[in-house]
Assembly symmetry: C2
Homo-oligomer: 340 residues x 2
């Protein structure tokens, strides 16, 4: 017995399957398109079904092969191939994925008309990563966002992007004593203060003295310590003016440091991991830092390659990568690489 | 018996030990300073000996403590503390390190007057990484350069920076057939060409077609394949014009790709590792890619945090991190993190 090939008709940015039996069979197999007697598919869905040999597509009575169909689709949707890669990949992995404004994805075992589990953004590695835009995407997706990034070879990397809550178990307290500002770093020789700092894992022990970062200095000054430059006390405002020359984003870093401390967390430099802070939620001597935090302004942009590198490195040292966007308020955006 | 404390005199940017016995003993213990009857030390060396309690330093008959001595030194050498961290750390690890214009370091078991083993640059994490400057440093150090980067807390990360030679065992050949340019990527449907590309691990298999990157397209075109856009052949020049809009650094990437192929290596996208290429030296199916290559112009600058992240990530996936500077010629600069 020869099975008759299902026919579909291309109409600009839609593909229609008229024959009711075919239409309902295709719809029911994977919830493709919109079914109401006939089946209406968008170009991405139709491309997938064509690619899989589920039907033949005709336009004005002429058959289109996959190549022609893709060329046609690209003239309607500029980033068609990126969308198609992500759609195809997730379908091949057995997910039901449908198009709203963006894709929506159903967790395994779920299907329409249930509420979808995630919004999925298909992005080219060549697109810029913009932190503010990412925050808006997450907001729109109600904190349920998956980003699929297609590289040059069409290979995909997926991230869950979400607003993240951090909380630790480390207390704050007041400080007394002097901090000496030496050029671009600060040193504590004051024995009482040194002892407290050691207890609290602030700064780094250098035998006869403790070295603290500019951000830590801001914090300690806020909590009561005095900053001394050339033998004279200087105020917070002047210190920040000075520190800004060395570290232009000191104000943002200090804001984040300060808030993290209020959340009972302890930030230390994350330089070795290419980030601003590694963050401890309990005593550093007894535990490892579960978070890497990169402090950025709301105008922060990066290439997706940089983001990919940051997240991958964080995961390779068993940490979570969090971008901390400082705007009117501080937003913690966690990017986690996943295999769907 | 009470041992008499050794006396040293601070004279601007030098510290002198006059007493011959003391001078020769200190010199012989670790080859500190310049000895010719008396001992002349620079500020970094003297700071270390003062910190270790090897002598007392006086200036005009007044004793200076470590804090005062450091303040004095900073007024002579702006990045004194960075230099001191590196010097101190390497001394503590048991190395003989001396100051020329930069530090020079003797491998364990070696000592002056032998030739030192490495030049050592002490750098603050706040300094910018400039690729051209790095190339000059390596040249000056005759390919024997160690860079010590001090982070905010004074913690050190060391890299060996060197010009690196790559070589592989993969052959080149000619190609025939068509490559279809679809918007920002290229696709091969031509069965003969597809077969060759599969044999040669070029592009990525997508079932009915193979997707190739813009850089691979340049290469294949150079080797005889035709690029087709909207049904018409376009020349290399026009293709590069088009590709530049999508990937502004395509020319540099192609130059490097091309040279790597001549060196019998195979570059593929390194996006997942945050770099331009992962590079195979033998068949990708039988081996892993030993190198990550990032292609940069001679004006490339980055923060040391970014560099730290790139190198650390490369090492975490057992690859070497190579920055490829495209100038009149291509220079391969390998940065390798070490524990001295």
């Amino acid at each position: 017995m020869v099975t008759k090939m299902v026919k579909a008709e291309l109409m600009e940015d839609k593909v229609i399957v008229e024959e009711q039996k075919d239409a309902s069979r295709i719809y029911n197999k994977g919830f493709f398109g919109i079914y109401d007697g006939k089946l209406e598919l968008n170009l991405v869905e139709a491309c997938y079904l064509l690619d899989k040999g589920k039907f033949e597509v005709e336009k004005n009575g002429k058959k289109l092969d996959l190549k022609k169909f893709m060329e046609h689709s690209l003239s309607y949707i500029p980033d068609f191939e990126i969308k198609y890669f992500v759609y195809r990949d997730l379908r091949e992995r057995g997910y039901v994925i449908k198009e709203g404004n963006d894709f929506v994805l159903y967790e395994r075992g779920k299907k329409p008309p249930a509420k979808p589990s995630f919004t999925v953004k298909a992005i080219s590695e060549r697109a810029k990563f913009k932190i503010k835009e990412m925050a808006e995407f997450i907001e729109k997706a109600k904190n349920k966002l998956i980003v699929g990034v297609a590289d040059e070879e069409g290979d995909l990397t997926y991230y869950i992007a979400k607003f993240f809550k951090l909380k630790g178990g480390l207390k704050e307290r007041k400080y007394e004593g002097k901090i000496i500002l030496l050029n671009d770093r600060c040193i504590v020789w004051d024995e009482n203060l040194m002892e407290k700092l050691k207890e609290d894992f602030i700064g780094r022990d250098f035998g006869k003295y403790i070295q603290i970062s500019l951000t830590e200095t801001c914090y300690l000054a806020e909590k009561g310590a005095k900053i001394i430059k050339n033998g004279r006390k200087i105020g917070m405002k002047r210190f920040i003016q000075h520190a800004k020359k060395i570290q232009p984003d000191i104000e943002n870093r200090f804001k984040v440091y300060s808030e993290l401390r209020k959340l009972k967390l302890l930030p230390k430099t994350g330089f070795k991991f290419g980030s601003h802070f590694r963050v401890y939620s309990s005593e550093p001597e007894k535990s490892h830092a579960p978070y890497l935090i990169h402090v950025v302004g709301s105008d922060y942009e990066a290439t997706w390659a940089e983001i990919s590198r940051a997240v991958r490195l964080a995961h390779s040292v068993k940490k979570e990568m969090i971008f901390c966007m400082v705007d009117d308020e501080i937003k913690y955006i966690r990017l986690k690489r996943i295999t769907p």
